[in-house]
Symmetry: C2
Subunit: 260 residues, 2 copies
Amino acid sequence: MGALHKGHAALIRRARRLAGTKGSVVVSIFVNPTQFGPREDIAKYPRPLDQDRRICQREGVDLLFHPTLSEMYASDASVVVNESSLSAGLCGASRPGHFAGVCTVVTMLFQIVRPTTSVFGEKDWQQLAVIRRMVRDLKVPVKIIAHPTVREEDGLALSSRNSYLTPENRALSSRIHAALIASVMEAEAGETSVARLRRGLLRDLAAIPGAVTDYAAIVDAESLEPLKKLGRAVKARALVAVKLGGVRLIDNVPLSGVSK
Amino acid sequence: MGALHKGHAALIRRARRLAGTKGSVVVSIFVNPTQFGPREDIAKYPRPLDQDRRICQREGVDLLFHPTLSEMYASDASVVVNESSLSAGLCGASRPGHFAGVCTVVTMLFQIVRPTTSVFGEKDWQQLAVIRRMVRDLKVPVKIIAHPTVREEDGLALSSRNSYLTPENRALSSRIHAALIASVMEAEAGETSVARLRRGLLRDLAAIPGAVTDYAAIVDAESLEPLKKLGRAVKARALVAVKLGGVRLIDNVPLSGVSK
């Protein structure tokens, strides 16, 4: 989607390392309309293309794919790739059609670019899970690599939408990650009840002035199904979406259970 | 879907010619459950694999791809490729979900086999149009080749389902193609009114003893949109689906308008 920040730069560097000297690194920049809802921010979504191009050059990108709308979508386009299980909850619940738009455009980009490997950020954990499922189910011949979320010094996950925050809300926004980290520490201290961990998470998010929690969930990291208990064998993930002054921010962390 | 007949053999020969001596010809045989409706004939659909294999060998096929159900679909598969415009009418109206099943499995087969060129029969004209649209919209890097319908001597379009016909209905079934040819001749004689051509077609089909017409349509060959008038610039196609003794038969022919 462009508006490249240090998180994207880290994905590009990961791709550059994976490609080595013989492979090529392709970056796609396309603000995809089909993944925005009717009342979402596509018109004001940042498009600093010159800056994006410089970042790509600096990071050793071989090809920047920046198609026009009509190159991607015919006016009578009628084909959608839809994932119906992992897409249903979390961000999918408040953004109907979002993941169908994502799956469709990512399928198209994979068909056009035909990468052997593609790097996605863990910040959009549900998107990552949905894309892994899409690739698995449609047998797309690409290896999906997850790259850890890059954060500001105070913990805020990097996002192109962070630029919408007022200075006050930017200061408050670090408390989203802090709330997630508090859950991680409770789990490391031996708390295995997902209900109790989630209550603590919701309480911390509710304590952020002006914050409206869209969701706070502790789920199986792959299936995104709700969990009851953490445990050594359980790969859990805590995911949140919070609106701060109308800006929707998402973040997530792994939660590992310890045996008591 | 296997149960290969002379129509499939013609598609394979076309692929063999297109591949030349350097290219490889791959045939997929997979009776895809997701394109059958709940009351359709998947259980009794013919699966004469040994015979299919002999036909493939005789026609110079390099690779026969015959996956199991679980190789194609995970038990928690949740991704569907859906075409919503061309799929809505004609066969799609009486077979809900059929074209989503077709689009999904064909996308998967294209991802697995990664052909440069793929040959489809014109007998399933709507399927051909839907697959062309799917390939166009998802940017799948494959060239779709349409191959003319192969017919029995009396005109019946070859289909694996013809084997379900009683001898009586087999004899009557040739009148489906005859009805289409009558429309072609009326159009060649100068009839341009689609309503009148369609009335004649419906009348001829209704005159077949025991036949139940599912649809008879004269549409734009590519968009499958209804037409009012034939003309030189119009690519029209007449498509029919008829049940004979419970066996659903489809057929179609091109209709070219002549200037009066």
